[in-house]
Symmetry: C2
Subunit: 422 residues, 2 copies
């Protein structure tokens, strides 16, 4: 077998330049979430195949990278047909639910968890969509009160404000909805309860096909014309400053519990008051969020000029119960790290300088051992003072070497010959 | 299929407490290596199966977690028997070699690369040995001079000094040898050239079975008794301050090139002069390093009272050529991150305080929306000043909640009732 020098399909090699941006953003995220009291935790990148294929991951379950059994286990598998016993996690929420069920006894309650990690999906590779990518999730487990939603929204918005301010962006929008409102609206319009998930798949295309497209699709799919008309009319002309309680009261009537409206009111009012200047929060009854595990509030963040969301999440009160047999209220918000990085790079992000000197010593091969030791000691001295120093042989093509180092931020490049004083 | 709440066999869930230690050590490593001019890079966690099974990974190739083909590819595989097209990387060196071959055009030369990442080995799980673990590697690619070895040794030793000083340890030992010295000694003793790798597997057990055990094993394996006696005699009574040139000259004779001796002399003399107080560097002719890809200098770091190495590496000038067709000099040093973390935890590591206040607001459920907003605004104010603040509902078992927060470092826990002034 020959060696292959390209990375596995759909996955990336990151250069030092890529990594400067990635590690900078990750450390901003980590530091800022810590100020909100989120504690970092970690789960393995592999999960039991049973946990990944339990119908809670929706479409992602079709995209699992399966990991084969080994040795005797594999031989057994070849006879029975089951040859994979684990798989790469496709998100951080399923592993977190398993983790909470497994470690609850030693975890604080509520647990405010920060997870930063890779996930894998065997998706069709395309621009901006990768088969291995990094997610940054915060979740609050064991808290049913809407304080969880408010903390998640303000922590995520605050973190994004800090990140985007580095490229001069202050404007983005938090969209908020509730699965129960979504459901009540469809029921009030007259759709049958067992068809709701399919209706929502069509509604979810609103940003691409617009309201007219949604109406046409629903009619094509054979739904009752009166229900379709009533439903689509609900979504026309919703002002940004909608009074959500009144809107839901008028539209959903008895299909919606008063508690849901009050909950939404307090989340919106409080979160809005905490956002930085430039950030908007809007009630968005078209917001669906694909995963079927959401049970209450759902949210998403978009940014002008980019036709994708940069963060999303919601409440999933019934997932942990799948692992532990006992439901635990849970709510999370996930930052689309790869998308953030793409936007920052597009907008010409530059690494903030730490103001420390970077010195390169380029040593001619004729320099003797004593000279070499002096150079290394000088380099140590610079590092002790907080600077960066590298010691390398002087290349034949010294001009290219110096240019390459200067491009890499070295402000002081010194050539060292046998007679150079150090 | 039922859900399983434990992690996959041999892999770990990390609690917030675990993670505080892990992220602290990782950021020490990252920051310190950057001062030595190492630039972080990253490769995907999966590699083409061809690259992982090309006989450069030694025993690790038996431990690959194989990832299955998908869809039509898998169907093809079921007919021909090849059902895996990729696997989880078992180290960071093979992927780095592929990476360099793939990206050389845009990389500086020499490339001083830092990699921090997980690797996977389907090893038999046991204490301190996991199936997913983190490695921290530095490598210098494109540099044949011994400046590479000196930079790697002093950067790694300096980083370990900084880490271990947090638990009061200043002593550890860098062991150094050269594959060419290893080979010459065995040839000079009279072992046949085609048996050397097997002889070294036995020699490598020295720390467990001692010199007498090595002698017995070699005799049992049927080697010429005179060769075994001559060989084992070479290893007795090597003082710490051995003059390596003289030792090698006397023992290896013409089997060893003078350049190798001079190279070792300059690496040892210079590196030793750069080590912090407490750190030793010794010539260790029993040092083997398992991987067959090493071509020159090899090194390992041990610490008193622990019977395992905490870092290891060496020169592998012929590996990148396997991917690009063109050899590139390369040398690396890998820190055994999991072992470092184990030692620090054993020795009672405590997180250094950042001196910033940590405040928790515990809000009674009777508090109204206005009160809640005031609390969230107060929390924002604390964060703006650099502190940490969390807002949570006051639990029924408030005593336990307060204790748990205090254990987690919260110095200021405030209960908020409807009549509490904020």
């Amino acid at each position: 077998m020959g060696f292959i020098s390209t990375p596995v399909k759909g996955m990336n090699d990151f250069t030092p330049e890529d990594m400067r941006l990635r590690t900078h953003v990750l450390s901003l995220i980590r530091d800022n979430y810590k100020k909100f009291g989120f504690d970092e935790i970690e789960t393995p990148c592999m999960e039991h195949i049973e946990n990944l294929s339990g119908k809670i991951g929706g479409e992602n379950e079709k995209l699992i990278f399966k990991v084969m059994k080994r040795g005797r286990e594999l031989e057994k598998g070849l006879q029975t047909g089951e040859i994979a016993d684990s798989g790469m996690r496709y998100d951080l929420t399923v592993p977190l639910s398993r983790y909470y069920a497994n470690n609850r006894a030693v975890l604080p309650s509520p647990l405010k968890a920060l997870q930063i990690g890779n996930v894998w999906r065997a998706d069709k590779p395309q621009k901006g969509r990768f088969r291995q990518f990094t997610q940054c999730d915060i979740d609050i487990l064991g808290e049913s009160s809407c304080m969880a939603e408010i903390e998640l929204i303000s922590a995520t918005a605050d973190t994004l404000s800090k990140i985007f301010s580095e490229v001069g962006i202050r404007e983005f929008t938090v969209h908020i909805n509730d699965r129960r409102i979504l459901k009540s609206m469809a029921l009030a319009a007259g759709f049958p309860e067992d068809k709701l998930d399919e209706v929502f798949i069509t509604l979810d295309k609103m940003d691409k096909i617009h309201l007219d497209g949604v109406r046409e699709s629903l009619l094509e799919e054979g739904y009752d014309a009166a229900a379709v008309e009533k439903y689509t009319a609900m979504f026309s002309n919703i002002p940004d400053d909608t009074d959500v309680s009144r809107f839901c009261g008028e539209i959903c009537g008895d299909y919606l519990d008063d508690g849901v409206k009050e909950n939404m009111d307090i989340i919106m009012k409080t979160s809005r008051a905490l956002l930085r200047s430039g950030v908007s929060l809007v009630f968005d009854p078209t917001l669906v969020r694909g995963m079927s595990y959401y049970t209450g509030t759902i949210f998403e963040i978009t940014i002008d000029n980019y036709n994708f969301s940069i963060a999303g999440g919601g409440r999933y009160d019934e997932m942990i119960g799948r692992f532990s047999g006992q439901n635990v209220p849970a709510c999370g918000f996930s930052i689309g790290f790869e998308r953030i990085v793409t936007i920052l790079r597009d907008l010409g992000w530059k690494e903030p300088s730490d103001g420390c000197p970077k010195t390169a010593f380029l040593v001619d091969k004729k320099a003797d051992a004593d000279k070499l030791l002096k150079v290394f000691k000088a380099a140590s001295g610079i590092r002790e003072q907080g600077g960066t120093a590298t010691v390398e042989p002087l290349a034949k093509n010294a001009k290219f070497q110096v240019e390459s180092l200067e491009k890499n931020g070295y402000t002081d490049v010194r050539k060292v010959y046998p007679d150079t004083e150090i």
